[in-house]
């Protein structure tokens, strides 16, 4: 295992984070710091369900992971990701590249006032599918699933693109939310980590401001269609 001194994982306990930790183990590249937020949110509550999946180790526990690999961990309890305590903590760290893994939370403008880059893996093709639940919209419109790695910016999903990857539809579409979505993000994260390790500098492509669509949380009827469910 190789520790990347400039890399920090900024996360909360979720399926996505557990998929990311699994991916880091698989590619042998680990962060030198983990900032673990304990933040009550709907996404967190849903993601707390721990179940077995063949796609990643969903039983990984953040503290044990950090301890077993000698990674420093900072845990913060908060009900607001934009709490100044967290922003000050981020400002004070030496790592300049953060992997963002806090479902359902949006970084406020204050996070972008200092020279830290936040890597986010969006489960949709950018700039075509910005916003919420892009997997389902993408399946409905193109029958495709794609993930895009970006650097976060103040404007949601409009940051520079680091990498993209297309994935097949899962055999069981009902696993998308808690298994397949975290897994595709983790697969792309491995590509990004590998580039970060080999090239030190990540090459990016800026998103054109004109092209692109922002989607809002999908209605359950459209979700059913994307899942391939039919009337009886």
């Amino acid at each position: 295992m190789k520790i990347l001194p400039d890399l920090c994982l900024f996360c909360s306990d979720s399926c996505r984070t557990r998929a990311y930790l699994s991916a880091m183990i698989e590619c042998g590249l680990l962060p030198s710091l983990i900032i673990n937020l304990k933040i009550p949110s709907i996404a967190e509550e849903r993601d707390k369900k721990i179940f077995e999946t063949s796609l990643f180790n969903n039983f990984l526990e953040i503290n044990s992971f950090a301890e077993s690999h000698g990674i420093k961990i900072i845990s913060i309890e908060t009900d607001n990701i934009n709490d100044h305590r967290i922003i000050n903590q981020i400002k004070s760290i030496t790592q300049k590249t953060l992997i963002f893994s806090i479902p359902g939370q949006i970084l406020g403008a204050a996070y972008f006032f200092f020279p830290i880059r936040y890597i986010h893996i969006h489960p949709g093709k950018l700039p075509d599918y910005r916003g919420s639940t892009p997997i389902y919209y993408s399946v409905l419109a193109e029958r495709k699933i794609e993930a895009t790695a970006i650097f976060l910016e103040k404007r949601i999903d409009e940051g520079a693109i680091i990498a993209k990857k297309e994935f097949p539809k899962p055999s069981n579409m009902l696993t998308i939310d808690l298994e397949y979505d975290p897994w595709i993000r983790a697969q792309l994260l491995k590509v990004v980590l590998s580039s970060l390790d080999k090239e030190k500098k990540l090459h990016t492509t800026s998103q054109t401001q004109i092209k692109g669509e922002t989607y809002y949380i999908i209605h359950p009827v459209l979700k059913c269609l994307a899942l391939g469910l039919k009337n009886s």
Binding site: Y137, Y215, Y216, V221, G228, L229, K230
Partner: protein
């Protein structure tokens, strides 16, 4: 409306619910539309009055300009759940439900003709709410618009099912 339903039975519940509401609507006459080029105000005026919604309801076909308004309304509704920026001082609490019905009908026309997923998504959400408040509009002068909105919505879903 949909709570505690499994994904597998969800579409049945949706279809049954929508069909039941359509049966309860008495006035099913066809809305009158015109192919006039409606003149819309500048975007800065978009959310200040419901007049634009009246014009969108009457559009036979959406022009590039009217479509921009339709999308703007959809975005406004998705993000704020409202259709106006500031509510009229004489009625500070609610814009009349008929404005929401007119908007729903306008969304449905475009959703059916284009299968635009963003518009269909906001239409489904808006119609869920309007059905929840159906006692406020059943038997009213705008119930026929609601009938056509729900029909267009269900037909859009059928079209997507065929394509998939």
């Amino acid at each position: 409306m949909y709570s505690n339903e499994s994904w597998e039975s969800f579409l049945d519940l949706y279809t049954n619910n929508r069909e039941l509401v359509c049966k309860q609507i008495v006035d099913k006459r066809k809305p009158i539309t015109r192919d006039d080029q409606f003149i819309f105000p500048p975007f800065s005026e978009a959310f200040k009055s419901v007049d634009i919604i009246d014009d969108l309801t009457k559009c036979e076909q959406f022009t590039e300009n009217s479509l921009r308004y339709l999308h703007l309304m959809a975005q406004k509704l998705e993000t704020t759940k409202k259709i106006l920026e500031n509510y009229p001082s004489i009625s500070p609490h609610e814009v009349d439900i008929s404005s929401y019905i007119k908007l729903s009908y306008s969304f449905s026309k475009h959703a059916y003709s284009s299968l635009n997923l963003k518009i269909l998504n906001v239409l489904l959400k808006l119609n869920d709410k309007l059905i929840f408040y159906k006692n406020s509009w059943l038997g009213s002068s705008t119930e026929f618009l609601m009938f056509h909105s729900l029909s267009n919505e269900m037909n859009s879903i059928k079209k997507i099912k065929k394509v998939l």
